[in-house]
């Protein structure tokens, strides 16, 4: 295993980014803009790089175990996986919402029609 470790500046920058980003996410979650699931998945963008920067020996171990030469490739692979899982769930939710919206729009127009029919019957 290689023993190259990230410099203190790299660790500081990544940790700073992770901290600020997590704070922003937490704020938005508390405001109700994200739910807990969104918070956990989006926070991976901060947690994964921070994990690799703060625990370089663990990063090298993972890259060794997965047979990938560079730990950052493993990190980007993991990030892509998180993004794809998130996209998959968003697409599923979007399609469900589209279906619900379609049904609600139909229902509204049919109820309005029924109301109009009853009003005209009442007038007669």
């Amino acid at each position: 295993m290689t023993n190259v470790t990230p410099s203190a500046v790299t660790v500081a920058i990544i940790s700073g980014f992770a901290f600020i980003y997590m704070l922003v996410l937490l704020r938005k979650t508390l405001q109700g803009k994200f739910d807990l699931y969104d918070f956990l998945v989006l926070s991976m963008v901060a947690i994964l790089p921070a994990g690799f920067a703060l625990f370089p020996r663990l990063a090298y171990l993972i890259s060794h175990l997965t047979g990938v030469v560079f730990p950052f490739v493993v990190m980007f692979g993991a990030l892509f996986l998180v993004v794809f899982v998130f996209m998959h769930n968003i697409t599923e939710r979007l399609h469900k919402l589209e279906r619900q919206n379609w049904a609600l729009v139909q229902e509204q127009s049919l109820l309005a029609l029924e109301l109009k029919r009853r009003e005209s019957l009442g007038e007669q």
């Binding site: 509204q108 127009s109 029609l113």
Partner: protein, 252 residues
């Protein structure tokens, strides 16, 4: 002109089998068809059959609702859902009001209301749950471009090869009759994309029987088709993909 609006009364719970006694609803999906919908409704009234009608205004920005509303009940969708959403609104209306049969015809004047008889005769003849008005049995009336006809033929070939339940020649026809079973089926689920061919795939997968009746169609009176040129190829590829998906999907 027959007052079609007042003709739409509450349903008779009995379900008569004779074509003369059937409660028939014509579903007319419209999007910005103010220029043609009045003439279509007048033509329907002239048939003298006393069909019940429902115009589904798919979020038009013109006076479609106002023009249609003078002759027929109008279900006005507050936003554009596309042809599938508009047609399913009509089917739900048919299901809730216990119609025996509903027939979809276009609001742009392409479909001659006198051809409805051909669909009803085909329905009377056999036990089909869904009757499609086909332009390609007698090849009468307006003909679309060669590329479109080729695409339609390919889609029909795919449907006939992959599903049992009927032989289809015109899978993209928007003139079709649904009986009670088909109404109940499509009130529950209806394809959002490419509804005409995909609804046939779903119906055949669900075991509904499909028949066709020869009808002549006219060139549209107003507007232009959204499927032309390269879009025809795009349409065809996507429809074939959906048909394959329908074949692979579990029967629901």
């Amino acid at each position: 002109m027959t007052d079609l609006a007042t003709a739409n009364s509450r349903p008779n719970p009995a379900a008569p089998q004779n074509a003369e006694q059937l409660r028939i609803l014509l579903i007319i999906p419209c999007y910005n068809e103010a220029a043609s919908i009045g003439a279509v409704l007048a033509e329907i009234a002239r048939t003298g059959r006393g069909y019940h009608t429902l115009v589904v205004d798919d979020g038009s920005t013109d006076a479609t609702s106002a023009v249609a509303g003078a002759h027929s009940p109008v279900a006005r969708l507050p936003q554009n859902l596309g042809i599938g959403g508009a047609v399913q609104t009509g089917i739900k209306y048919a299901a809730r009001n216990a119609y025996d049969v509903c027939i979809q015809i276009d609001g742009d004047g392409q479909h001659d209301p006198r051809e409805i008889e051909a669909l009803l005769e085909a329905h009377d003849r056999g036990a089909a749950n869904l009757v499609v008005g086909s332009r390609f049995i007698d090849n009468a009336g307006f003909r679309s471009t060669r590329l479109r006809r080729l695409g339609i033929r390919l889609i029909a070939f795919a449907l006939n090869k992959l599903f049992a339940g009927g032989h289809i020649t015109d899978p993209t026809s928007g003139m079709r009759l649904l009986d009670r079973r088909a109404i109940a089926f499509f009130a529950q689920r209806y394809p959002m994309d490419f509804p005409e061919p995909i609804s046939l795939a779903w119906a055949m997968r669900a075991g509904l029987k499909i028949d066709e009746a020869s009808v002549a169609m006219r060139a549209r009176e107003t507007g232009v088709s959204s499927i032309d040129g390269l879009r025809t190829v795009n349409y065809m590829i996507r429809v074939l993909g959906y048909i394959l998906l329908a074949r692979l999907a579990r029967q629901s």
